[in-house]
């Protein structure tokens, strides 16, 4: 299956199409709106389901097998912002806080992009490590912490003590809802194992793909509202939102293969590196680095990188993984 055909197949599946419907409705200023609370409720469902299933698989795989990939994933999350910050600051001429914030968003991860990737792999018949959501879980926080650290150091605000700001950021990053839910559900899945998964399968597995499609409708509505904000970021931000995922994704694929992940697993790690956070990072950065303009990072993450990844990006990272893992 070549890349184009793979992109086409991916595009003609419910999740990306519902995202497109949401974007179109928002752009046409339809009165299709999110009932308040639904977005938050679906987020909780998705994170709990992703975590729980991953935990049950983690139990099956055994903790011993996963340390390597998990450590590599956490390291990638911490290091990626260090690479993208100078690009944003000096090439893109963003203010220090903005550059740090964007770098943190792109170092951190998007659980929904990850999930679309697993569906894509499943429907393409590619195997992957079932515990891969453990990689997702460890990649949220490090980038946020590093981003805050950079932002604070660069801003060099004399008034506040760095350590206080960082401990606040650590709180946000580690006790934010997505980290707590993902890590908590992962632990629960691990403790319950396959037997527990069987019990709650009818809720956490059977309807999952459909819930994801509905969530993407909502995400499309949110993203559509952000399209106008892109102008404030200028052409550089747009380019960054398209190029950064490709570079970070390729790096993720390479590292994944190097630490022994399967082809599918490496494609997933690539997707994680390529994806940008729009739940954990925005909330944490808003409180720990409020000088940063939240509009820029969110518009880039949601209105550029997310649609890029769920349409073209994911098939691309898989193609890279296939090519590089060929003997």
């Amino acid at each position: 299956m070549d890349l184009l055909e793979s992109v086409r197949q991916n595009l003609l599946s419910p999740a990306p199409l519902f995202f497109g419907l949401g974007v179109a409705a928002a752009l046409a200023k339809s009165d299709l709106k999110l009932p308040e609370g639904l977005y938050g409720a679906l987020t909780i469902y998705l994170l709990a389901a992703i975590g729980f299933k991953g935990g049950a698989k983690l139990d099956a795989a055994g903790l011993g097998a996963v340390w390597g990939p998990v450590a590599a994933a956490a390291a990638l999350s911490a290091l990626l912002p260090l690479a993208s910050f100078p690009v944003l600051r000096y090439l893109g001429r963003f203010a220090a806080a903005d550059a740090a914030s964007i770098a943190a968003h792109y170092g951190s991860v998007s659980a929904v992009t990850f999930t679309v990737a697993t569906s894509f792999l499943a429907s393409a018949g590619v195997e992957y490590e079932g515990y891969a959501s453990a990689l997702l879980a460890v990649m949220e926080a490090p980038a946020i912490l590093v981003g805050v650290l950079i932002g604070r150091l660069a801003a060099a605000r004399q008034g506040e003590r760095l350590s206080a700001a960082l401990s606040g950021a650590a709180r946000e990053a580690l006790l934010g809802k997505s980290v707590v839910l993902l890590v908590g559900a992962l632990a629960i899945g691990f403790l319950c194992g396959e037997r527990g998964l069987l019990q709650v399968e009818g809720f956490f597995v059977t309807p999952f793909q459909g819930v994801l499609a509905l969530f993407l409708l909502e995400l499309g509505l949110v993203a559509g509202r952000r399209v106008r904000d892109l102008r404030r970021g200028g052409a550089f931000l747009l380019a960054f939102g398209l190029v950064a995922p490709v570079l970070q994704g390729a790096l993720g694929v390479a590292v994944g293969l190097a630490v022994g992940l399967s082809t599918g697993g490496a494609a997933l790690l690539g997707t994680l590196c390529a994806s940008a956070s729009y739940i954990a990072a925005p909330a944490a950065m808003r409180l720990a680095l409020p000088e940063a303009n939240p509009t820029l990072s969110l518009a880039a993450a949601l209105a550029v990188t997310f649609p890029f990844n769920v349409t073209v990006g994911i098939p691309l990272y898989l193609a890279l993984a296939v090519r590089w893992s060929a003997p």
Binding site: K33, L34, P35, E36, L38, Y39, G40, V222, R225, D229, P282, A283, R286, L287, P290, E291, P294, T295, L298
Partner: protein
């Protein structure tokens, strides 16, 4: 008594409440809000964009302290406005 109303980004909710408590407010009423202003539209359907509307019933000197700190600490960092007015309350001593 003064009624101080602060409309601010929902993500800063706890900061606002802490500031009010530190200034001496004995309580607060918080309601959800969306809005539109200089920073664009703030729809209430996702928490990242929503506003909160915080009402504080306080004696005038505490109102002044709150206004002063909101101006210094919140205005430069968050989409936020504040207005205040005189109100008559029951149980004066409570506030």
């Amino acid at each position: 008594m003064r009624l101080v109303t602060i409309v601010c980004e929902a993500l800063a909710r706890d900061l606002v409440l802490r500031l009010a408590r530190d200034c001496g407010a004995h309580g607060a009423t918080v309601s959800p809000a969306s809005g539109v202003g200089a920073t664009g539209e703030r729809p209430a359907d996702i928490e990242e964009a929503a506003n909160v509307r915080v009402e504080l019933v306080v004696p005038p000197e505490i109102a002044a302290r709150i206004a002063e700190r909101v101006e210094r600490e919140l205005f430069p960092r968050f989409a936020c406005i504040l207005w205040e007015t005189d109100v008559r309350v029951l149980r004066q001593a409570k506030f």
